[in-house]
C-alpha cells in the first residue's frame, strides 16, 4: 500500500463511521451542530495522530501481554492534554462537548488503530494512517452535524464555540427560518435518524456501484463468450472449407 493509499483509505473506503461504524458515541452525541462536530473532529485528529505516533514508536519495547493497558495510558495522556488545552483556549467548546472529551479515551476507533495498525507498522505510516482515519472520522461527524443542524434550525452557524477566524457568530448557510425547523433533529432520536439516512444513502450508493460492476462484469463475460463462440464457428467453417 502506497502512502497516498494509506492516507486516503480512511476518508471514504474505510471510513470509521460510515463503513466500520466505530466511535458511534460521539457520532451521535456531539453532532447536534456543525461546530461541535468540527470541534470533536479536531480533538480526535490530535489524539489519534499522537497516539498512533507514540504507539508505533514504542511498539518494540512493550511486552505483548501489557499492550492494551499501555495503549490506553498513552491515549488517556493525549486526551487529558487535549482536554486541558480545550479548557484553556476554547472554553465554550469545552463546556459544549462536556463529558465527551474524556470519553475519547474509550473511543474504539483510537484503540482499534493503535492495536491493528500502529503496533505493527512504521512511525511514518502510522502517523499517515492516524491523520487519514481521523480526517475520515471528522468528515463523517461534520456530515451528520450539518444535516442535523440544517434540519433542526435551517442554518449553519460558526463562531459560537470555536473562536477562530471570526469575532462574532456568523451564519454560513441559511435555508429557512428557525421556526420551520424540525427540533427533533437536535435531540438524540434525531441523531439516530440522521445517521440512518446517511448510512442508507451510503449503502445505496455502495450497492448500486456493486450492481453496476457486476452488470459490467457479466456483459464482459457475455461478450467474451460470444467472441469465443464466433471464433469457434469460424474455425469450424474454415475446417469444413478445407475438407471440401
Amino acid at each position: 500500500m502506497t502512502k497516498k493509499e494509506n492516507f486516503l483509505k480512511g476518508l471514504i473506503k474505510e471510513n470509521p463511521i460510515f463503513v466500520f461504524l466505530l466511535g458511534m458515541c460521539p457520532a451521535l452525541a456531539v453532532t447536534s451542530t456543525f461546530e461541535t462536530a468540527l470541534g470533536m473532529g479536531i480533538l480526535v485528529i490530535f489524539v489519534l495522530t499522537g497516539s498512533n505516533f507514540v504507539v508505533s514508536l514504542v511498539r518494540k519495547y512493550i511486552p505483548h501481554e501489557i499492550r492494551t493497558p499501555s495503549y490506553i495510558v498513552i491515549i488517556a495522556t493525549f486526551v487529558t492534554i487535549v482536554e486541558m488545552i480545550t479548557e484553556a483556549y476554547t472554553y465554550d467548546l469545552y463546556i459544549a462537548l462536556g463529558i465527551f472529551i474524556p470519553l475519547i479515551v474509550v473511543n474504539c476507533l483510537i484503540l482499534g488503530r493503535a492495536e491493528s495498525f500502529a503496533s505493527k507498522n512504521k512511525v511514518i505510516d502510522s502517523v499517515i494512517d492516524g491523520i487519514g482515519m481521523a480526517l475520515g472520522f471528522t468528515i463523517a461527524l461534520i456530515t451528520i452535524g450539518v444535516l442535523r443542524e440544517l434540519l433542526a434550525t435551517g442554518t449553519i452557524q460558526y463562531g459560537v464555540y470555536l473562536p477562530f477566524f471570526v469575532e462574532e457568530p456568523i451564519s454560513l448557510i441559511k435555508l429557512f427560518p428557525k421556526k420551520f425547523g424540525l427540533t427533533m433533529f437536535s435531540l438524540p432520536p434525531g441523531a439516530f435518524i440522521a445517521l440512518g439516512i446517511i448510512l442508507a444513502i451510503s449503502q445505496f450508493r455502495k450497492v448500486r456501484n456493486a450492481e453496476k460492476k457486476a452488470k459490467e462484469k457479466k456483459a464482459f463475460i457475455e461478450q467474451k463468450k460470444k467472441e469465443a463462440l464466433e471464433r469457434k464457428r469460424q474455425a469450424k467453417m474454415q475446417k469444413a472449407g478445407d475438407n471440401k
Binding site: 499501555s70 495510558v73 498513552i74 495522556t77 486541558m84 488545552i85
Partner: protein
C-alpha cells in the same frame, strides 16, 4: 523473573512519562483555565443582576445540604445590591449547579444553570422556557411551573431555589431586620 521485571519497568516508564507530560501541560494551562472560570462566573453574576457596571463580590462557604456558597454582590460604591446562592443537586441524570440571585428587596432577580451533566436538550428547554419565570418573584411566595418537559432537571432547580430563598429569609431577609 526478568520478564516480569521488564514488564513492570515498561509500565512504570509509560506512567512516569504520561504523568510528567500531564503535569507540564497543567502547569502551562492552569492559570488560563482559572481565569476562564472566573470570567465565566463574573459574567453570570452580572447577568443575574442585569448590570454592565463593574461589580465586586465576596464569597462565603455555607454549611447547607444544597447551598454551598453565598456571594455578596456590591456595586462600585460598596453598597450591597443583592446575594447570589450557588447550589448543587444530584438527580438520576447527574448533577446540576444553579445560581440564584436575590436582591435586597427580597425579590428573585434571576436563576441561572451554571453547569450540569443532565441531558443538554432538556436543560436548554428549561433555560428557554422556565427559568425566566422565577425573575421578579417574592422570596416568600415562589411559584413553580407544573409542566416543564424536563421534570428531573426542573425538580432539582426548584429544590435549590427553595433552599436558597429559605436560607435568605432566615439569615438575610426583611424578617431579620
Amino acid at each position: 523473573m526478568f520478564d516480569k521485571l521488564k514488564t513492570a519497568l515498561v509500565l512504570v516508564i509509560i506512567a512516569g512519562v504520561s504523568g510528567f507530560l500531564i503535569y507540564n501541560v497543567n502547569e502551562l494551562t492552569k492559570d488560563k483555565i482559572e481565569a476562564n472560570k472566573t470570567s465565566r462566573e463574573e459574567a453570570y453574576y452580572a447577568e443575574i443582576f442585569d448590570t454592565k457596571d463593574k461589580i465586586k463580590y465576596t464569597k462565603t462557604a455555607l454549611d447547607d445540604v444544597l447551598i454551598q456558597e453565598e456571594i455578596e454582590i456590591t456595586d462600585t460604591s460598596g453598597n450591597v445590591i443583592g446575594y447570589i446562592y450557588k447550589g448543587t443537586h444530584s438527580n438520576n441524570y447527574g448533577d446540576i449547579t444553579v445560581l440564584i440571585g436575590i436582591t435586597i428587596d427580597d425579590l428573585i432577580s434571576n436563576v441561572i444553570i451554571s453547569s450540569t451533566t443532565n441531558t443538554p436538550t432538556f436543560v436548554q428547554k428549561l433555560k428557554d422556557n422556565n427559568l425566566a419565570n422565577f425573575s421578579g418573584q417574592q422570596i416568600g411566595s415562589v411559584t413553580y411551573d407544573s409542566k416543564t418537559g424536563a421534570t428531573y432537571s426542573y425538580t432539582s432547580v426548584s429544590q435549590i431555589v427553595d433552599s436558597a430563598t429559605q436560607y435568605y429569609s432566615e439569615n438575610r431577609g426583611e424578617m431579620n431586620d
